[in-house]
Amino acid sequence: MMHAIKPARKLGVFRRALAHRLLSSSPLAGAEEAVSVDIFNPSPEHAALREMVRSFVNAEVEPQALQYNREERFNHALFRRAGELGLLGVTVDPEYGGAGMDATAACIVHEELSASDPAFCLSYLAHSQLFVNNLARNGSADQRARWLPAACRGEAIGGMGMSEPGAGTDVLAMRTTAKKQPDGGFLLNGAKMWITNGCVDDTQLGDLYLVYARTAGADVKPSKAVSLFLVEKGMRGFSLGQRIKDKCGMRASPTAELVFEDVHLPAENLVGAEGGATVCMMRNLEIERVVLAAMAVGIARRSLEVMNSYASERKAFGQPLSSFGQIQRHVAESYAEYMAGKTYLYQTSNALDLESAGNRLDTDGVKLFCTTMGKNVADRAVQVLGGYGYIGDYVVERLWRDSKLLEIGGGTLESHHKNMVRELAGVQRMP
């Protein structure tokens, strides 16, 4: 039988391992060290971050994942705990309550969380990247000082509204409008669809949202017509349209439709320049695609670990599954694809400057490759486990369902194709 990581406090795990160690004789450790450049953990701080998140995941994320996903509940307490550990503001300046780290650090957290609970990680992503990082990169100093500290501590939960019922891939066709008022403020009308963290349970909104809306008429071209606003829970006319239930996967991550009816936004809630939100959107979508790829890498890693240990322990026809050629192909191809994806991921994140925009090709490419890779590896894990793979206790069926979203959210596979080919049109020599 294989062993799924069982709910256990860190010390519980350690105590058991220690008991095991003390029973067996312990040879002296040798002294040599392997020194190599590790692109997955380019600095000691990255390595320490990964280590810390992994301990947090083993002790606190893994034990709740199955239940919260089954019940379609968001674990708000766990979210606040992530705030205590300083994980909600990874890429934010320490001045505003963050850790001042880079895109690779963000990938590390997403990879580690997603190896256990992709749904919790998706809500983490919507908060820490789509809201927090978006405001940290595109907001003014006043706006950052006003909203980021509480968001970094986890006292406020945020999200981002771009998609609409009638506009997804074709996002600039959005119909939500913000009309300028004589007092300098704006009047917001419309609806946003599929908003992660749009609610925290069946009836309550989250706290803070960055919402894209048209601020110019049909005569202005779409790329100059969209602005970004900060919308707060409690503003008159802002309500929860519906909580979207019964998703295929990502069930512990709440998704909602947000409705705006004559919501009055003060001028201070305009983020960036009026009509200048397209570049904010593109910049934030770049890091979003990269951390979504990191989530897929986390799913692949866990699936691979599960299938690898199962294949060597489970016997059929008197032999371990790993002795059968077809199973060997599942395991070996999964490993090679996982390593290829992970290497592409960290290669891309190590080169991504969060202040820049226009990093299309590889942020699209890495999400295109990794998300399908993650889904395929999860699928092979279910296949290798047979019937056991098809039930919740063995984790991989949940990862398999969650993995599909990554091919849709943050840009569909087809949108990556389209954008990459446009970028590649100008490239003669490949790297």
Partner: protein
């Protein structure tokens, strides 16, 4: 001004003013790694193996940090003896809350007596009021360093501490001994070694991981500390423990006694 505690003349600094704690941290193979013996039997495989802070040392660091949070300790120094890479474990201790670190850099195999002598040299430089070590390291399981250090310094010791409190300017240490708990009162400076139940260590938070980067690590060689690493032991061979043979079910107590006597030969 340093006031003297009348009751404990050996405590040259009272707590309200200054209490310096030194904690030992050792770089070991991570507890979750499956240990593999090298093919040439010279030791265990450490190349590309995950290394971590000895878990008992994490408990020692945590205890020091709690003493500081209770405003009992005023400064925490983490110290290690080990290769350059052991800096990672010092950074972990700094991220958990130690203020600065001392690294005795050596690639040599060290025995508990070497480490105890090096710690003594550091104690003489730093004059800590309290040294907290793990009760043992999970690589060699020696369980000697703390006791040796106490002897070398001629300080009281509380090994296998499961609770520590400050009382009347001294320490009260609860120890887990066979058959119960023993409570010792001791004066400072002292050495204690942490048992598993002393506390549950925290995770270093991300902001603290970043802050640790800026904390100071002083480096020394063994020569600078005047300690010679004389090798008293030679490892002849390291081998895997024998594989366990599968058990068998018995039908009755009589059969069990018979098997214990005639097959296992553990009773006559």
């Amino acid at each position: 001004m340093i006031t003297r505690s009348a009751a404990h003349s050996r405590v040259h600094r009272t707590f309200s003013r200054h209490l310096k704690v030194m904690v030992g941290v050792k770089r070991v193979i991570d507890y979750a790694v499956k240990i593999r013996v090298k093919p040439d039997k010279s030791g265990v495989e450490t190349a590309n193996v995950k290394m971590s802070m000895n878990p008992f040392d994490e408990i020692a660091v945590e205890e020091a940090v709690r003493l500081k949070e209770k405003k009992v300790a005023t400064e925490i120094i983490a110290m290690t003896v080990g290769p350059t890479a052991a800096q990672e474990q010092l950074r972990t201790a700094l991220a958990m809350g130690a203020d600065r670190a001392v690294h005795v850099v050596t690639d040599a195999e060290t025995l508990p007596i070497h480490v105890a002598k090096l710690m003594k040299a550091v104690c003489e430089k730093e004059s800590p009021d309290l040294v907290i070590l793990g009760k043992q390291a999970i690589d060699d399981d020696s369980n000697q360093t703390g006791q040796m250090l106490a002897a070398l310094m001629d300080w009281p010791q509380g090994a296998f501490a499961s609770a520590v409190s400050i009382k009347d300017g001294g320490l009260e240490v609860t120890r887990e001994v066979d058959g119960g708990l023993e409570t010792l009162a001791m004066k400072l400076p002292a050495v204690i070694t942490a048992d598993l139940r002393l506390n549950e260590p925290r995770y270093a938070t991300l902001p603290n991981i970043m802050k640790a980067k800026k904390k100071k690590i002083d480096k020394f060689t063994t020569d600078e500390l005047g300690v010679e690493l004389k090798q008293h032991l030679k490892v002849l061979s390291v081998e895997d423990p024998p594989k366990r043979e599968g058990g068998a079910k018995v039908e009755s107590v009589d059969e069990l006694i018979d098997k214990l006597r005639n097959v296992a030969k553990v009773i006559d």
